[in-house]
């Protein structure tokens, strides 16, 4: 037969060829898995950046909100000062992820309390500026919520890859780790459904 003819491949050479083909295929599979993990990690990073962008939009609204509330509700100095201080801490940007999440939840709570002051101060509620801020904040909060949901979807994909066999083997070697989901803060649960 042609392959055993003089000049054709011997049994050893055939075995080597098969090893090379097998090794090459395995390398391609490993590269594919590694790239999948990188893609999912980047998607999660990108989604986190989107959350960050909308959180910055929330911070940008706080000075206006504080100025508006201060004009009508001077007795609420403590709440106002706390929100301003927390905003400054968040903008300083030297916190780890967990501390940042806690701080953002606290800011969200503070902002919600400021918005609720409209019920106690009718003049504040009637103010055009306050109404505009209320709309802008509603929009930002909904965008933050959407960005968090997008982030959680990316984290789910990444965590599945990190946990599932055989891609978890590549994840373990390359140092990919599970990430934590964003969880809605306690005070935001059961908010108005729109």
């Amino acid at each position: 037969m042609a392959c055993f003819a003089p000049g054709g491949l011997g049994a050893d050479a055939m075995t080597t060829t098969w090893w090379l083909i097998g090794g090459g295929a395995l390398a391609l599979v490993v590269i594919g898995m590694f790239n999948t993990l990188v893609r999912r990690r980047n998607a999660a990073d990108n989604a986190f950046a989107a959350v960050d962008a909308y959180l910055t939009m929330r911070y940008d609204l706080i000075p206006n909100l504080v100025a508006t509330v201060k004009a009508y509700a001077q007795h609420e100095r403590e709440t106002l000062a706390l929100v301003v201080e927390q905003r400054q801490q968040a903008l300083a940007g030297n916190l780890d992820v967990d501390a940042r999440v806690r701080l953002d939840n606290s800011i969200a709570h503070g902002v919600q309390r400021l918005m609720a002051l409209g019920e106690a101060y009718p003049e504040l509620k009637a103010s055009h500026n306050f109404q505009q801020l209320q709309r802008a904040l509603n929009e930002v909060e909904e965008r933050i919520s959407a960005a968090r949901r997008a982030f959680n979807a990316c984290v789910l994909e990444l965590n599945n890859a990190v946990d599932m066999f055989p891609i978890n083997l590549v994840a373990g070697i390359a140092g990919f780790k599970r990430r934590a989901f964003f969880e809605a803060p306690e005070f935001a649960r059961g908010a108005v459904r729109v």
Binding site: A47, N138, E139, E142, S145, A146, A147, A150, A153, V194
Partner: protein, 329 residues
Amino acid sequence: MSADASAERFHAHFQEVVRSQLVSVNQHRTRTMRAIVGWWSVLVPVLLAIGYGLMQLDLSGDAGKFCFSVWFFGLFVALIVPWTKYYDPFRKSFKQQLIAPLIRAYRDGMTYAPEDSVKRDEFDDSGMFRERSLTNFKGEDRVDGCIGATPFHFSEVDAENVTSSGSGSNKKRHTYPIFRGLFYVAEFNKDFNGTAYVLPDRAQRLLGSVGQMLQSGKSPYGELVKLEDPEFEREFVVYSSGQVEARYILSSAMMQQLHALKMRTKKKLRIGFANSRLYVAIASGKNHFEPRLFREIQRSLFREYWDVLDIFVGIVEELNLNTRIWTKS
């Protein structure tokens, strides 16, 4: 409007306006039907006899082709002319006398234009049907209204893609339906950039997780968005220009409301969000707001059209489009 309130309103309108006209409308329908069938019963046998005669003459070549072409044209004219002459006036008067008041009675301020439709550009700009390019577009029965701060309109639409292949005498025309049904447009209550499309989920339903993998491939509607609501995901597949934007538009409540709309209509639904508008396409497979010719016109026909209004006008309330707590006022 609740289902009970709507049923009550329909009953009141039927008793006050429609009932008294049913006898005269059915008389008009009978006269129209008799006139059309009368003309057909004379013209069609004559033309069939002529056709039989032509076959006996055993014509061949160009003369044969010409004679049969003329005969076919004659048969076509004999069927169409009486129909147009008698049915069209009956149809027009039915729409003016009964459908227009029905729509006005449904809700104050609603208007009806039987010959008008959603505009071709509007349909095209929605980006709801990207599988084929739009070449032929027609529509009728446009309804306009405004509930609170939300203007809306809808109409019947028949959109097609027509292509031709070959040349000369071998030239062939191919017609592919893009959409036939009711197309609805409303102002959406949130400002958004980009697009999101909620389409019927066939692949996942038929093929399960393999179907979902297939959906992840490139789509003309954008990237696949996997949402958290399992009931919603079972019925629909979502594509969007952005993951965050899709979730901003499709809040948890909106997903539940769209699922409820799908369950209520029991029809194949396509929903689009683009140009700060909401688009809904329901392939109903029926010609709505038309009279019957060969069957008696009864209360049930008007109830059927009232149900169509319930679905489309109800979308504004069902999807809370009047909630204006965001920057869009």
